[in-house]
Symmetry: C2
Subunit: 492 residues, 2 copies
């Protein structure tokens, strides 16, 4: 075959690049003149940041561990811009890992909190137990009032110790945990230690309201979160039922929405642990139906959580799940694993069960029929890039499966999973690493805007709710645009 | 939408799994009864090995660094079986990094070898210089005869030091090099240090013949290798021309083929460094045409080598490359990078220039149109999984882009790039990690057989050569099968 002339080759090359670019996430959006101007500035900041890593990959923010780069990200002008950007909603995050460590610190300032054991000094030390109680807890342990520990060690020192304890953050993340099971053990230990603190009713309500405030401050205005509904209790030894707990969520949400009319809404996915016996599982299914009947507008559906590699496979649950009425929507975690041909096959179950979205879907990349069905059925993949790095699925963000999904406009959102435990903002850090690492160096403001739009499109809001949400988001976007343009230098 | 009944769901699930499996690499092959029996044993060994990593990912051979697992791989019965398997050919390997360190040790036993500087004691120490010469080299340096160093430190100690110097192998691979540029610097230093040793004519011929012997011992019976044609010299200060150097390759190959008629052949891809100015580049293009005219059956084509992120982009060379006659085939390295939207776009140039195969193609995954064209044009991607891990593109083999290519039967071969520098066999270790890590846990003997068949199909052999090669390979495969079955326990 004869080779083309150079000008013909150049034409073919341009066409090839255009074909590729036209398939990327957000390529269908047309920017306004104002957006174009902001985009030039955004791309300048992006290229400036990436350039640091061209000659020196050790300085590449998208190639390194998030913990190693956190301070630099926080200082970067592009991150600050992304923080201000209306990002739509969070569609994948877990109840007690959404709020920042400051909300945990605030919890420890409540009266009647007891601690047994000490705050770990070194990696691997056991974590203390907590309990709110008027009187010293009767279960075994060296219970002391946190108020007393606080005054003996100094209040600021205690707060600092709490901040350090309730995070996976470490200066040496590549060596801190040797494998995925190790880091998951620590991760689970954080949830378990924190639970009796957050399930104390006053904290429960305050924490959840605080989460919504932090979302809004991060310019996230919709939340569709997963929760275990752990038993909430009070000082009178009352344990609240799941319905009462959901009622608390509803009340706090309503209160917050009244105070902040630009917020678009809150919905809840009941997502208990997949480490359970069949009888317990039957209980989950009964409960989700009851909740759905009582809170039809608040309950989005059902999911199962826990480390996928070690949890029961979906095949254990399918028969029972199929008996649920079709009014119960599924939002299954699936493919949160590096395995190929093992638990990653949960993806197939999730799809055939009619899941509306897929949590993580990291392994979907290695399943060609899953990929086809995801596109055909428009099943949104909820990407959580920082979570996947911290929990040791992937090291370099540019190798994240999301890079593939972005390149060919798969239905995706970017979410944050458990931002509390990696010192991340509710959503901005995940948007940042997605934009810098999962996305092509060429991907621009349209990708960020598309991620925000997708978070509305693939949410569980109904048509009317989505219309209202779109109006609110558009207003916020236009306001952001005008404000952002004021600080864009004249040359752009 | 109503949910299906459980038996209907099970039927759909089986069908879904079958659709996926039928698309995987090798799924089109039908095994004979004997092959089926061996396959049951192979899958038993595979599952047994993978099972170690299910509960304890730190023991997962496909999830860890090759250097950390090398001893265990070498001891594993599955690896030993893969070593004995006729694997077809190596389509991607580099001239002076194919032979084992023992061939380098053997080179240092030649007379008249001089060394300036010491063998490094610690990471980062400079490497010594070498030169064959009848008299002490006149260039600056503290030249001593290797024979003298050898007798002063003990011959075995010297050999051991040589083995340790000419490898990237280290006990702590995750911390040994902080980024891709660091490890490439070391990697390049090995080539540079070794060059004056291997380009001494007696070593040059003996080394190349030794490589072919090692290939055969690893049951690899075809070689299509890339080389820089560095100036070969002798003790009479003669420097050989590129044509003379290729002539040496041809002669050694012919001699080897006469001695080993089951070997299928050798071809050469002229692949100079992409770090060059335009005038030098013009020289490359002239040379490849001259070589092709003089050795039409031996010269397969042209390529460019060097760290892709830092080398000149393909766009610098396209205009000149297009002027080459269409008889010169291209086998470009492209997409050996984690970048998206930068040097990875070399993939587009490679395809539009009509490349026959793509070296590495790691980044092709993130280019949907590249993926389409690779399938449409049947451009074989030469995967080198261990190389990509050692040179810091990817950590967990299950995240290697090859996992995606395998899952949907992309045209691929597995090769070894520079096995010498990672203490790997010519091909068996790459086959092993590809089978255990890139492939699904479900992928079986058909995948391994397909990889061997692909290495013939996508080679540069012409039709007649391929027929002969297929006959030889089939004979070897059947012999292997009968021998392997003798050690398969009765229960399979």
């Amino acid at each position: 075959m004869a080779r083309p002339a150079y000008d013909e080759f150049q034409r073919q090359r341009e066409e090839f690049l255009n074909r590729e670019r036209s398939r990327g996430l957000g390529a269908d959006l047309v920017l306004s003149a104002d957006e174009e101007r902001l985009n030039r500035y955004v791309m300048h900041l992006k290229q400036q940041e990436l350039a640091k890593g061209v000659e020196n990959p050790y300085e590449l923010v998208s190639g390194r561990h998030f913990f190693e780069m956190l301070e630099r990200i926080n200082d970067s002008p592009l991150f600050k811009l992304i923080q201000k950007m209306p990002k739509g909603g969070i569609l994948h995050a877990h109840d007690t890992a959404i709020g920042s460590t400051e909300l945990i610190v605030r919890a420890t300032h409540h009266e009647h909190l007891w601690q047994s054991g000490s705050i770990p000094q070194a990696e691997g030390d056991p974590m203390p137990a907590y309990k709110f109680s008027r009187t010293k807890p009767t279960v075994d342990g060296d219970w002391r009032l946190v108020a007393d520990i606080r005054s003996s060690m100094g209040s600021e020192a205690y707060d600092a110790a709490i901040r350090q304890m309730f995070t996976l953050y470490t200066k040496d993340p590549l060596n801190a945990h040797r494998d995925i099971n190790d880091v998951w053990r620590k991760f689970m230990a954080l949830f378990i230690c924190f639970e009796p603190m957050v399930t104390y009713r006053p904290v429960w309500e305050e924490y959840f309201y605080g989460c919504l405030e932090e979302l809004l401050a991060d310019n996230v205005t919709y939340l569709e979160f997963r929760g275990l509904l752990p038993p909430v209790y009070d000082l009178d030894d009352r344990t609240y039922s799941p319905e009462e707990i959901v009622q608390m969520y509803v009340e706090q949400s309503d209160k917050f929405l009244r105070a902040h009319p630009k917020f678009m809404g809150v919905k809840f996915i009941y997502a208990p642990l997949k480490f359970c016996d069949d009888a317990t599982f039957d209980g989950y299914l009964e409960l989700v139906q009851k909740l759905q009947q009582r809170f039809p507008n608040f309950i989005a559906g059902f999911d199962l959580v826990g480390q996928e590699d070690l949890g029961r496979p979906h095949t254990d649950f399918n028969e029972r799940l199929l008996r649920l009425p079709p009014t119960i929507n599924f939002f299954f975690h699936a493919g949160e694993t590096n395995w190929i041909g093992r638990r990653d096959e949960n993806l197939i179950d999730a799809i055939l069960l009619g899941t509306k979205r897929i949590g993580h879907g990291f392994a979907a990349l290695k399943h060609p029929v899953v990929l086809e069905e995801v596109k055909k059925r428009q099943i949104c993949i909820e990407l959580n890039p920082i979570s996947n790095q911290v929990l040791k699925l992937v090291q370099d963000f540019r190798n994240h499966a999301g890079a593939f999904y972005f390149s060919d406009n798969y239905p995706v959102v970017v979410s944050s999973d458990d931002p509390s435990f990696w010192c991340a903002a509710p959503l901005s850090h995940d948007f940042f690493v997605a934009f810098m690492g999962l996305a092509s160096a060429r991907a621009d403001l349209r990708l960020l805007k598309k991620l925000a739009l997708n978070s509305i499109e693939y949410s569980s809001m109904d048509g009317a709710e989505k219309s209202v949400a779109m109006e609110k988001w558009t207003t916020a976007w236009n306001t952001f645009l005008q404000e952002a343009l004021q600080s864009v230098p004249g040359e752009f």
